[in-house]
Symmetry: C2
Subunit: 363 residues, 2 copies
């Protein structure tokens, strides 16, 4: 097969939501004769328990070989006290960095059946569809120097460094303009140029690129604190938001929660297109985390992982029809009133993770 | 008088909201025989226009002499293109740093008359009362090295550095425990210990201090991205949130917007108590910014500045009765239905900045 997939379920609810995706993959194999060359691997706490490291070199090598990685979630209290470089999260961060997945697409959209699930008033979120584009391989997540040192007087001093270069900002801004062109034509570039030097360079670089390549795109600059406010005040003002790694982490979570559909939001992390092969590294994962408190109870919502798989079909394999099929099945199941506990509301039917999978397969 | 005040109205709507506070100060002078020794100075864009710098050394020296500073707001498009070190914001940042105002108290509360103004459903915010305690003199706002350099190939590289030491974290965490003791007894300490070394040190230090001095306080640790989510999902789970300078900037703005009362939220920035004199440096300012788009139109809401003044009376001069008086007048005016444009709703009376001041004085 020319469809090589690496599946990394990870920790917490990762494995159980991934199980439902595997059922859909099997179904596609039998019913639509789409065969994936699928490997499964360990990442995060699961890899620490088995191999003493959150990501083995072998799994890292596999990730670089395949056409796409489907990721679950990592982390949990069991591994909270590990030293920094051995934490479950390092597995995910290593994948992002070594696959050079600089463009993290996090759609925040409200499913029609879910508009009442938001903590915001219905009219503010109904029909909401924002794309948050988060820079994913730079900034404070990877900048050097970083670490904790003990000073002469016995106190400690910790340092993190945020670094951005012009090319790093340009390549993600370019993706923002491309996305906006296929959507509402509007980009908000978000930083703290009033306080941070990386923010100043970010703003200058995005402005310049917009002049050169942003024809027809409406560009706004916004401070990150104001953006957090504006997301709460009137989220529909946004189309595409492009921002750095750390701001993107917070703002995309905030936007995801606004939708009331957190358990249903997928994300895609993409690398640069190889100019000769046209190939692009890619990893897909739900926006939600590993939710250790509900893990193993068969109550987690598998829809975000399944929608991540649909994104994978769409972006990595150009399988539009199959992606549509998955997404339509999800819409139908929701319209028919099936809900996992996280999105349950009076008048709907509460189902387990597995039953949600059954229902989807029937659809 | 032993009540030395420095008033810095700043830019945008700063001067016009400050004018209403000055009227209240005059009233107190005449009617309650409280006399302040009040100086006014320039800061931000106003100081740039007059003196070529966002804060003169003279004004800085004044700020260090007085008992309290009442601040308006700084910044605006007119000064957006100035080089980094000359921006209006540097004036405010210099005050915070040189006065060593490490503890920034940002209450996010919903005024009963305003519960419907929130974009969140009424039941989620009614009676909300969170205290966000933001570290204000450390982190990425001041860490070195910082700047932008041009590389050999002509591209640029920008750097910001986040630094925290154990004593910096301890002193703000101590304030958090003190605040919680007088409130709901619960503290959420917020960082990104899964990604940042400053976050790891933050978590360790807060945990240790809690063991030593946090008797009776319920302490939770939370990642900053999750905190942004939880604020939107169910804000009433929080009592005191303590966090670093940058996370505090975003989270306090997010929380402020949740209340629907943004134009009404004050803040206090406090230094350490001088062990011999008991004196504590302090600066009070509204949470809202300079709002250049509505400046000079006599439509801005003066209540946040006035509530900042009430906080000043309470914290810097222990004038509880006078502070109560101001706050009660505000509650009464709101209950009577008076609203500036930002908080106007059908069925209330829309008034200008000046008329809001008149109404308050009558109360
Ligand atoms: C798990 C963690 C390292 C990660 C991040 O901070 O990027 C997560 O919060 C995310 O947003 O994907
Ligand atoms: C004006 C700006 C420098 C400031 C900050 O980022 O701290 C503001 O946003 C605030 O929150 O007081």
């Amino acid at each position: 097969s020319n469809k090589k997939l690496l599946v990394l379920p990870g920790d917490g609810i990762g494995p159980e939501v991934m199980r439902q995706v595997r059922r859909v993959v099997d179904w596609m194999d039998k019913r639509r004769h789409v065969s994936f060359d699928l490997q499964e691997g360990l990442c995060g706490g699961a890899a620490i328990d088995a191999h003493g490291t959150p990501l083995t070199d072998e799994t890292m090598a596999d990730a670089l070989q395949v056409d796409a990685v489907l990721f679950g979630s990592v982390g949990g209290p069991k591994w909270d006290d590990l030293p920094f470089e051995q934490k479950p999260e390092r597995g995910l961060l290593r994948l992002r960095k070594e696959m050079d997945l600089f463009a993290n697409l996090r759609p925040a959209m409200v499913f029609p059946a879910m508009a009442d699930a938001s903590s915001l008033k219905r009219e503010l979120v109904e029909g909401l569809d924002i794309m948050i584009l988060r820079e994913l391989t730079g900034g404070v997540y990877f900048g050097e120097p970083r670490g904790v040192e003990t000073l002469a007087d016995g106190t400690k001093r910790a340092v993190d460094t945020q670094v951005y270069t012009t090319p790093e900002i340009e390549r993600v801004a370019r993706v923002a303009f491309e996305l906006a062109r296929k959507r509402g034509g509007k980009v908000h570039s978000v930083e703290k140029a009033n306080v941070m030097h990386t923010g100043v360079l970010w703003r200058q670089t995005v402005t310049k690129l917009h002049e050169a390549e942003g024809q027809g795109i409406e560009l706004h600059h916004m401070y990150a604190d104001n953006c957090a406010m504006q997301l709460v005040r009137y989220p529909k003002q946004f189309d595409v938001i492009v921002t750095d790694n750390l701001f993107g982490d917070m703002l995309s979570d905030c936007a995801a929660m606004l939708t009331g559909s957190l358990g249903m939001l997928p994300s895609a992390s993409l690398g640069a297109e190889d100019p000769t092969t046209g190939r692009r590294m890619a990893l897909y994962e739900p926006v939600h985390g590993s939710a250790p408190d509900i893990a193993g109870k068969d109550i987690a919502n598998p829809l975000a992982e399944l929608l991540s798989f649909a994104m994978l079909l769409r972006y990595s394999f150009d399988m539009q029809e199959d992606a549509d099929m998955v997404e339509t099945a999800i819409t139908n199941v929701l319209n028919a009133g099936f809900r996992t506990a996280d999105i349950y509301a009076p008048g709907t039917a509460k189902v387990s993770t597995t039953v949600m999978g059954d229902t989807l397969l029937r659809e």
